[in-house]
């Protein structure tokens, strides 16, 4: 192999003398480039809007749930992470009062569980959902010390009640069917619904805000969604991580929110 000819020309005497320390040039040069490190728990860089984070069960503007307990999400799930059990809205009359509904129409999801230790965040459940009840949020901070605690129940997944929404169960808006709900023609609670809730659950905390919406003193409710917890100081981050470890960090952040992805994406084939 003595006839080897290097492709690159040989360096001159100065280049050869500096060769052992030439690598430090890279180190030195990178000192003057901007830092790429993200200060994660202290400054959170939000993921892309369509990031597949944890799920959320949405609500209609009057507070009724969108989930109809059809189990299509559970059937679509490749990891068998979802368990749904539906029930009849008519059966609510015995416990919650005549005419009570949890979702518009005939059925509602009585049991809804997602096992986050099986879920692979593929989004096939979202594609399968016929009422767009199930969507995904940008919250990815999921960790827990127990396997049982990582099974999220319906109350953990339901979207928080926005200001002005009336807590379910209560009757549907009079004169509507689930079709009107689905077309987005229900924009908030009505006086009859507020009166019904006042009669059956006088101490319901959402009645007053809903009544203000009915009287026109407050704007109609906007749907909210679970959000990534905000950037934290060092101690607050440790505390938040601690409560997350205790399996308690599931409360959604209430409050006003920019228009959600749910607003932007209409159900397929529906033009309100």
């Amino acid at each position: 192999m003595s006839d080897y000819q290097p492709l690159r020309p040989r360096k001159g005497p100065i280049g050869r003398a500096l060769a052992p320390v030439a690598g430090f040039g890279v180190t030195l040069g990178s000192m003057f480039r901007p830092t790429v490190t993200e200060q994660y728990p202290f400054e959170k860089v939000p993921p892309k809007p369509r990031y597949h984070g944890r799920h959320q069960l949405n609500r209609y503007a009057d507070g009724l749930e969108k989930c109809i307990g059809c189990e299509l999400c559970a059937w679509a799930c490749p990891a068998d992470a979802i368990y749904v059990e539906g029930a009849d809205n008519a059966d609510l009359a015995a416990t919650d009062g005549a005419g009570a509904h949890r979702s518009p129409g005939e059925r509602y999801g009585r049991v809804y569980q997602i096992n986050y230790l099986r879920c692979i965040f593929c989004g096939l459940c979202i594609e399968a959902c016929p009422t767009r009840a199930l969507t995904m949020t940008n919250d990815y901070e999921l960790a827990g010390p127990t396997r049982a605690g990582m099974i999220y129940e319906k109350q953990d997944l339901l979207a928080p009640l926005a200001e002005g929404m009336l807590a379910a169960p209560h009757p549907m808006v009079e004169g509507t069917t689930d079709t009107e709900y689905y077309r987005g023609e229900v924009t908030g609670p009505t006086a009859e619904q507020v009166a019904w809730v006042r009669e059956h659950r006088p101490d319901d905390p959402t009645v007053e805000a809903a009544a203000r919406v009915v009287e026109g003193e407050a704007p109609p409710p906007r749907p909210t969604r679970h959000r990534l917890r905000g950037s934290a100081t060092k101690s607050a981050a440790a505390r938040a991580a601690g409560t997350a470890a205790a399996g308690a960090q599931r409360e959604p952040e209430p409050g006003t929110d920019a228009p959600t992805a749910e607003d932007a994406v209409r159900p397929k084939g529906v033009h309100a």
């Binding site: 993200e38 200060q39 049991v111 230790l117 965040f121 990815y140």
Partner: protein, 184 residues
Amino acid sequence: MGLEEAAPSGFLLTTVEDVAGYLRKASLWPVTFGLACCAIEMMAAGASRFDLSRFGMEVFRASPRQADLMIVAGRVSQKMAPVVRQVYDQMSEPKWVLSMGVCASSGGMFNNYAIVQGVDHIVPVDIYLPGCPPRPEMLINAILALHQQIQDAPLGVNRREAAAAAEAAALEATPTVEMKGLLR
């Protein structure tokens, strides 16, 4: 082991607990142990963009004897299970296990005969992290939660009392086979 074994339960022991917890959580060294795709995210968490060295744990030790955190990153096949257990046994106390990703935590979408349905069948897991794979932020979040667990860990007398209380609670608890969940 040391001072904490001799100290009586009281302010001295709790002070030792606080200091030991602070030191332990601030120098957690993970073992280099990647099993599948989650290991790519684990490497990303150690690289410059997410930079685990901000939390004193950039040194992924190649020898389990020098490590005190095992991040089980990926699905554990039945054939790999004895190896995982051996790596865990070779680590020196105190040691912790983080089950990263759904496959390590519960078998995930691989519900079949080849995959161990949760690494807690072979090693005790301190914290579970879902995701397929979890992004590096999720891993850091889980590690911070584990840091808090380590900080709050009792020692000496308190540790024995906590273990006894946990055992008593486990004996009282409903067995898993009898849990009916929300089924009617």
